[in-house]
Symmetry: C2
Subunit: 451 residues, 2 copies
Amino acid sequence: MSHLLIIGGSDAGLSAALRAREVNPACDVTVVVADRYPNYSICGLPFWLSGEIADWRDLAHRKAEDIESQGVHLLLEHTAQAIVPTAKTATVVDGGGRSRRIPYDTLVIGTGAVPARPPIRGLEQPGVFFLRTMADGFALHDRLAVQSPTSAVVVGGGYIGLEMADALTRRGIKVTMVEYFPSVLTTLDPPLGLLVGEELSRHGVTVATGVAVEGVERRGGRLVVTGSNGFCVETDLMLVATGVRPEVRLVATAGVETGKWGAIRVNRAMETNVPDVYAAGDCVETYHRLLDQHVYLPLGSTAHKQGRVAGENGVGGRATFGGTLGTQVVKVFNLVAACTGLRDAEARQAGFDPLTVQIEAWDHKVYYPGAHKLHIRVTGDRSTGRLLGAQIVGHRAAEVSKRVDVFAVALFKRMKVEALNDVDLSYTPPLSSPWDAVQMAAQAWVEARRS
Amino acid sequence: MSHLLIIGGSDAGLSAALRAREVNPACDVTVVVADRYPNYSICGLPFWLSGEIADWRDLAHRKAEDIESQGVHLLLEHTAQAIVPTAKTATVVDGGGRSRRIPYDTLVIGTGAVPARPPIRGLEQPGVFFLRTMADGFALHDRLAVQSPTSAVVVGGGYIGLEMADALTRRGIKVTMVEYFPSVLTTLDPPLGLLVGEELSRHGVTVATGVAVEGVERRGGRLVVTGSNGFCVETDLMLVATGVRPEVRLVATAGVETGKWGAIRVNRAMETNVPDVYAAGDCVETYHRLLDQHVYLPLGSTAHKQGRVAGENGVGGRATFGGTLGTQVVKVFNLVAACTGLRDAEARQAGFDPLTVQIEAWDHKVYYPGAHKLHIRVTGDRSTGRLLGAQIVGHRAAEVSKRVDVFAVALFKRMKVEALNDVDLSYTPPLSSPWDAVQMAAQAWVEARRS
């Protein structure tokens, strides 16, 4: 009976564990979990902090009992200290500091990521928060409950920053969002990012773009945040959400290679360079299906897919990771912003000849009540007609997310933009149009290419 | 300058006209429209009759002026009487009975369909309605406005019947729905059709399934509807919604071939057997992409696609109709029911070795407020693993329609069920799960096939 050891108890690790048990019920699976919260949805923390979710325990994708009932052995509050591939062992330390060595036949590393610490003076101040782990969530939750802050500065207009601007506003806190670039949500093109910024403003968030935060210091009982262009705001708390970097401290001494983003190098079977050592999730480089090369793009949905592949292969399977398309979605107040594939500049850099077209289209027949305008950008290759990417911003009731998924399947299958018009999509007046908005965008792109 | 003549002013005809002008701005395009309502969304009639849409004029996809501004010449209230392919002319009669001959270089027939008249005694009674044309809609609307009926019998539990049961209930009318089969919405499998039936009951509709309506007669000021199994209901009005048949009276004398459903035979370029005569929409047989043969499946979304192809080819283009996948969706009260592809029995009949699996899955992470259960059925080919079809029923806020479209794109590209798990679909807790419900269904299918 082979032993699969998994280091990391979040999305990648638990997906690997459950998949391994599913495809090979005879295998022995152990997961080393740094905290007491295996398989928690850290993506859900903003919605607990907002008050939309009453109990943090509900954030568990699965309960520990349910995981163990699948035959997965959990080592909670254990930290891996070292991997010795030559001996096929890992050293772990429990909460009491007791160390022991665990032998493995195959190993999956799913150590995730840690918040990036931008070059801002004073980040060690009390009142400055990051949001990554359940412990980070508890710390921020306590501060909100105990000190009832009335103002907050959120640094970084990415997914977490946007969700937290929404969450803190829901709690009655006056939020200032600071973004280095000219528009928030820089995974979308500026015209769409601006719409997201407007949604923030509409809900009372002060949006400061083009500002580099330089320092934070305590003055009286409060924080003073300063930045470029004379930015200076006094606030009760500050949240730094400027991205993450892979957590790879464990691998350096084990001979596991990392790449230019510091993430673990893996192939599409999720194998590292070290025999019988797999890695998955936010600690690895991710194969990009459209670029046909690896990138660093840490996302929960990707971690699940990679974990599933690593778990299957770790017990003798032959699964292959299909690759990321860069699909992402975020809900900000009543707006949903989503994208998949390459943007114009990315496509150009990858050697394509991109053309990008933006349209507005109703999500359903405008005669039926509740129609919302969708803002859709489509990028395709001018010379071949191939679809390269799409971005949509629209009301949360306008099925933005699944419309981006329609594009995602088309990208996955290397479809041409024009071919989208041939697909028999569903139509009823309360939900769409005879040509769905996705197809109206495709038609606009085809016409723009012709002219 | 070539002249494209189009007979029929609904979805297929107008799509053909606009596309012809788009690809060849030098062409001369005339559309013969039987009534005064070119390009009206007859799919929208139930929502006007329900009171959700205030003004019937809003049902126009485009205004007549907008169509003419695109260089399309409209002959309103003109009826085509004959086509003479040898002379390349069509005879049309205007509202005053004046006849004239119009020459064409190419012709597109888009005469649509008419309601099927089931074998029920007494259908000619006043108070018995069909719903197909704007005139049908006006007649029913007048009756609702003038006589304020308090009860109605709807015969037929398909799309129109369901939408009208919803519409009449919204007006405070007590509705009895009668369906011949054991469950309504027979385009879905019975377990899902039953859910739709329950939604009707929840909103006060009496659902009588397994009943063949046999007759309707006037007694006092009311109608008495009788049927099999002792069915007998007294009511103020009756709506017959038991499907349609192609309107092909015009083509018999012109040598245009029709097939076993009485619909015009066309190839994928939308050409009939007669040179320079194209046909599109509800009057033609439709190429089914999965069956690789023609079927009769009249739908607005299909009519638009076929019209676009006919219009492009009618002015010298070389477009090909991609084929239907059988994708359909209907909203009934707060439920949406949708399907795409083949069902188990259809697949078996077509020579596949189908396996169908049904699951329940939340539309988004259940910890986030407002999660709804989706009921998903996936059909795939057991021997090859190929996806063959999918059906989903769920709350109207649960993105049912676009989730079926994700399956539709996968069907279009002949994907395997397992491959759906490799697609990078969008994830955020308020809108989906790390594995979207579509993928959970795919995984359940893959496991069922393995065991």
